[in-house]
Amino acid sequence: MATRRRLAMTAAVAALLPVLGACGTAAPGADPTSGASGAGTVTLVTHDSWAVSDDVIAKFEADSGVTVKQVAVGDAGTLANQLVLTQGSPLGDVVFGIDNTFASRVADAGVLEDYSPAGAATGESPFAGLTPIDQGDVCVNVDTAWFDAHGLAEPVTLEDLAKPEYRDLMVALNPASSSPGMAFLLATVGAFGVDGFDGQGWTGYWSALKANGLTVAESWSDGYYSEFSGGGEGGTRPIVVSYSTSPAFTLTEDGSATTTRALLDTCFRQVEYAGVLAGTANPAGARALVDFLTSETFQADIPGQMYMYPADPDVALPADWVKFAPLAPHPFEVAPDQITAHREAWVDAWTEAVGA
């Protein structure tokens, strides 16, 4: 199967070699033949977590006649900021991977063409020029086996985590260096605002977590593998900030159960968008690619490739996800323009509250 796919790819690449050669020295999308037909090359700029099956992209290339050049540039924040910095001289033709925490900064910077496929099954976004492609929740995860073994009830809400029975059990992630860390900070901002948590606000909540023995990891992998007892790498703490999909990856041997659980009352929803970059030399090809990202073919490929839920609610999910990794019914929300306006100040306030 894999071999056959590779063969197909090789054939596709061989067939495209002349095209690649012709475009090798040209600017992204600067193919003079591009026009209404949507031929030519399209450079797709993404973050490092972008992944797609070879045959899915090959299908798009075969159907549209467009050659896709994929370029990854760093994490989601780096991607967003690189786009803003290169306003007027875009890195490519299409961007994928702007999430709702960075969307308003990118949308306001004038780096996007105002295009969104009409009537796409993935829905619409509040931002001009950005189309939702996938989504996922960042939630507190618990090691259910640990809680069983210690005869302790699992926490349910954010408030529970500050209670004395959960002292020294939790691992959070630094929002300054980790995107799920930032998302969970936003969950607490959305949950408590400035006067929730008995009038102490979200910063008061973090102070309470810190006083309750919170530890903070610099990255998701560090927290999940080095510190979390359910990560299978010898960590000792049974509560960690992770994704709602994580429990689908800690199945028991026979796959009938999972050893971790996401607390669905502690979540923040991340939505990832795609858009056409302003100044593209191949607008038809770029739009065709964005259209394709909302198509069922691509949407169905997302869970297996990027660990995110497709934005199209009608696309079938992997069975493990349906069983063990549902989305939160009511995730906490923070207005995108608020995030853009306060991101830096919130991270500074968080750093202060956690006593760093």
């Binding site: 977590s49 050049k69 760093g74 780096t78 900021n81 690189q82 290169t86 299978g232 660990y307």
Partner: protein, 561 residues
């Protein structure tokens, strides 16, 4: 005469053009953006705000302390190892030399994870309480950099004529005194060189600091990263970049002074001639061996053994080869878009190009800088070039990478978008490798007795012939080392590579970072297996470079001293 002048002109212009396009211009452009007000015009308000903040000075303090402790530690621990590996002969020496180089090229993310599990309360070094401490960070930095000292100092030490020290001993000096008054001053320039490089590495260390420092631990480098990539706060980042440049320039200046004082022509031997068979009766041999056992055992083998051991275990703790078998796949649930072997191919190709660029550019710089022109202005210019070429080690990869974005879209009016071309990654890696090539080749070139060149000229050899027959054969021997260094730096480079656009191809460190960031114990195990492969290949390359060097050394270029 004219042709000579043209030759030197090219030798100066080529490296300057390369470093100008791929370093100076991008950095200047990005820093410049930080001082432009929203409506245009110059805005120096950032300078006042940032320099007025106590946080800034705390960051500067930590950066300086971390770099100073890291370089002192690396020199103190590196010297005895350099002695043992380059001044004595014993079975297994080549393997040990390769092993010492391994840490230098491991991806920082992997080292971070390896040390974290050592320092953890239940880990092998948990008793020391190093988790999330300053000392913990410094230990990891020494782990990375001790090989710089060993190789740089060792390269000179092995070729130092032992007769000077023997004469001192014969005249009644104690071994300690002979070492202090004869050997140490002769090694001075190499030690200063190594210390300067290590200082720069430690001052700009990024991944290790992020993983091991914990909350509240921050340096100028991590703050520039945070301000630039997460907030696009170029105003603050620009001021911090300038502060970083000041710190780095100060260090370089101090190192140049130290080098200048101790510098003179040395009587050099062919490598390994000066080495003696290791002997249990020599106190210095035994002491060096003991120190090496501690350094290599605790600092290098312990973390590496943990890494290797874990790479052969499955999620359930049982021994297995599954992690290695998985390297031919794209990971659990397709974590990768290429297999690890394909990424390794990309890495090797990239490293080849980067090494070629670095050796040409760095070799030319070393050649120019090794000369002492008679005119004072020219001497000054040479000194300046010597310092400037080191700067890439001291400037944040983030600043360079983001600078590329705004300068390389149509460089020099060419209709090529270099930002997304496949050449950018090797070029950026070469920028980082050039200073290492210079620092490896330069001490050897500088130590050539100028009388050799003069004698050749008197005998009628034109300048080109002098270069070919005197400088080149001697430089070639250190070139093997330089190639090994440049290749391994490029193989392990992560910082700059991670910020650059990579069309369709990821290098091995990027793939490892990605595997570690994906859920699933099998991906984590695969990341460790890939790290072991990367480390093994790097060690093999370095050993090969060493072997090449020895073969050549044994050949025709024997008796010119």
């Amino acid at each position: 005469m004219n042709r000579t002048r043209l030759g030197w002109g090219v030798a100066v212009a080529l490296p300057l053009a390369f470093l100008g396009v791929f370093f100076a211009w991008p950095v200047a452009a990005l820093v410049g953006r930080g001082f432009v007000a929203d409506g245009g015009g110059v805005d120096l308000g950032g300078l006042r705000d940032v320099l007025g903040s106590p946080r800034t000075w705390r960051l500067v303090g930590i950066t300086l302390a971390q770099a100073a402790a890291g370089s002192v530690g690396s020199v103190l621990l590196g010297l005895p190892v350099a002695y043992l590996l380059y001044r004595t002969r014993f079975p297994g020496r080549a393997v040990l030399r390769g092993l010492v180089t391994v840490p230098f090229v491991l991806p920082t993310v992997v080292v971070g994870v390896a040390f974290r599990s050592l320092f953890r309360a239940d880990g092998p070094l948990g008793w020391a309480g190093l988790e999330e401490t300053f000392v913990g960070v410094v230990v990891a930095l020494v782990f990375f950099n001790v090989s710089v000292v060993v190789r740089t100092v060792g390269g000179l030490w092995e070729r130092l004529d032992p007769r000077a020290e023997q004469a001192a001993r014969a005249l009644g000096a104690t071994p300690q005194r002979a070492f202090r008054t004869v050997t140490l001053p002769a090694l001075g320039p190499a030690i200063a060189s190594a210390a300067a490089v290590v200082f720069l590495f430690c001052a700009t260390a990024f991944g290790v600091v992020l993983v091991l420092g914990g909350l509240g631990y921050g340096t100028i480098e991590t703050e520039i990263y945070r301000r630039t990539t997460q907030f696009l706060d170029l105003r603050t980042a620009a001021v911090l970049s300038i502060l970083q440049l000041v710190v780095v320039t100060g260090a370089l200046f101090a190192a140049a002074r130290a080098r200048g004082r101790g510098e003179r022509a040395l009587h050099l031997e062919q490598e390994d001639v000066a080495a003696h068979r290791w002997s249990a009766r020599r106190a210095s041999d035994v002491g060096a061996a003991a120190a090496t056992v501690v350094v290599v055992g605790v600092l290098i083998v312990l973390p590496l053994a943990g890494l290797v051991g874990r790479s052969f275990r499955g999620p359930d703790g049982a021994w297995t080869l599954a992690n290695y078998r998985a390297l031919g796949t794209t990971g659990g649930r397709n974590a990768l878009s290429v297999t690890v072997w394909e990424a390794l191919g990309t890495s090797l190709r990239t490293a080849l190009i980067a090494t070629a660029i670095a050796v040409v550019v760095g070799g030319l710089v070393a050649l120019v800088v090794s000369r002492r022109p008679r005119a004072r202005a020219a001497r000054r210019a040479v000194g300046l070039l010597d310092a400037v070429v080191m700067l890439p080690l001291g400037v944040s990869a983030v600043t360079v990478g983001f600078g590329f974005l705004i300068t390389l879209d149509r460089p020099l009016g060419l209709n090529i978008d270099l930002r997304t071309s496949g050449l950018l990654v090797p070029a950026a890696q070469a920028v980082v490798a050039v200073p290492l090539v210079v620092r490896t080749v330069l001490p050897v070139l500088r130590a050539i007795d100028p009388r050799l060149r003069q004698a050749a000229a008197v005998l009628g050899a034109p300048p080109g012939r002098v270069l070919r027959d005197i400088d080149l054969p001697i430089a070639l021997r250190s070139l093997g080392l330089a190639i090994g260094f440049a290749f391994s730096v490029s193989l392990g480079e992560f910082g700059a590579t991670a910020f650059l656009a990579r069309p369709d191809s990821a290098t091995l460190p990027v793939v490892i970072f990605r595997l570690i960031g994906r859920p699933g114990a099998e991906n984590y195990g695969m990341a460790l297996a890939a790290s072991v492969i990367l480390a093994a290949i790097t060690a093999a390359c370095v050993m090969l470079a060493e072997r090449l060097r020895q073969d050549r050394g044994a050949g025709a270029v024997g008796g010119e001293f």
